[in-house]
């Protein structure tokens, strides 16, 4: 298996696409997926449970120091930044907001790029700010694979479009094609 982890950044319009992705991946999809979805500071984590119920994979909130395991989809908890350590465990911080966001996509992506180098896939989906652009650039610099949702198909095209100002992603795909691409990896 060439890739060891997938990081996804998503903001407004995210709930719909996350539902589709988490429900579509098959039971034997091994590569762990780590997601930052922008949510409010006081959001409870009910929606993670809902995604879990509809998914073949185990969807959960990332715990601090938790070891990243295959076959799981992890979400950053509300009001915390999520980082990945080189020993493939999670760290949480309450540092200042980045791009007005906590959790911030850039924080996850930059630490994931350092930890996984060229064994990482970074994906930026729908959203209406520029969080994730710096992070996916770092993933590319470290040799990882970069994908954005085709802005034409995104509920909020600004976030994937912002990536195009910084790098040329390896793939620009609709959600359906992102799923097909991921399934072919295994």
């Amino acid at each position: 298996m060439r890739y060891e982890a997938i990081v996804i950044g998503v903001s407004s319009g995210g709930m719909n696409v996350l539902k589709i992705i988490s429900a579509a991946l098959p039971t034997d999809f091994k590569i762990p997926i780590i997601v930052v979805q922008h949510v409010g500071a006081h959001s409870d984590s009910q929606w993670i449970q809902l995604l879990n119920e509809k998914s073949n994979l185990h969807v959960k909130e990332a715990d601090e120091k938790e070891k990243i395991e295959n076959g799981k989809i992890y979400f950053a908890p509300p009001n915390y930044h999520l980082l990945i350590e080189k020993d493939k465990t999670f760290s949480l911080t309450i540092d200042e907001r980045v791009n007005f966001a906590r959790p911030a996509i850039d924080v996850l992506f930059e630490s994931a790029a350092e930890a996984y180098r060229n064994k990482l896939i970074g994906i930026v989906l729908t959203g209406s700010n520029n969080d994730g652009t710096k992070g996916i650039k770092r993933i590319k610099e470290c040799g990882g694979l970069t994908i954005i949702q085709d802005p034409k198909t995104a509920e909020s095209p600004y976030m994937p479009m912002s990536v195009l100002t910084a790098i040329e992603p390896d793939h620009i795909l609709s959600i359906e094609n992102i799923i097909a691409f991921l399934i072919k990896l295994k």
Binding site: E64, P77, K86, S91, L92, T93, I94
Partner: protein, 274 residues
Amino acid sequence: MQYKDTSDLEISLLLEAIYRKHGYDFRQYSQAHIRRRIMNRMAISGFADVSQMQSKVLNDEEFASELLQDLSITVTEMFRDPTFYQSLREKVIPILKTYPFIKIWHAGCATGEEAYSMAILLQEEGLYDRTTIYATDFNQLALNRAKEGIFSNKMIKEYTVNYQLSGGKESFSSYYTSSYDNVIMNQSLKKNIVWANHNLVTDSVFAEVNLILCRNVLIYFDKNLQNSVQTLFYNSLINGGVLCLGSKESLRYSDLYSEYQEMDNKQRIFKKKY
């Protein structure tokens, strides 16, 4: 230890330099976090690599203190996580009411917002007059600000909402006076708070207390350091004393887990067994 990545080695040497020159020990902090803070400072100050920062840290006091501020997280709020304060009122206050004198330790209080929140809560519960709050941090600049008790009024709206959601009984504005862009916390809230410099990594037990609050501090530490700080807390609590951690911090993986009883698992409130 072998380093695959030169910048990892440079960061490790920089932390060693900070510790040996200035006495602040970040060597057992979570590495991804430390790397992020150091790389930010490197970019802002225009250094080509981490090794350049090392010489600066050793020879330039002003830069060293700037970097220390970068590595110390002072992000905090009044009544952060209102549901935690609700639980504190419902489950912990009744225990505190049984003591003639109450000692509380706020470990890692930063600029003091949570210590003031505690003072407000205790005042409303009629306990403040027999309480001493030890509010400690290793960051002296943050402590100085905490002592002043002056906060930007930009945050007050959010704090007021937090206060109300936490079960506050008064009007939040009765606890401060507005002055230009700031609010000044009431003198009566400060009278039983002792602000003191204490470093969880290098300092030891200084008092026996009924309640310890240390929220969103341990997440920055590696497992070893977490365990040693947990031992420090355990040794500082009286039997039956209460430990409150941040909402994403767990005792479960600590060596001392079996020595506590869970009072509120979601809000991470634990009681030291008798």
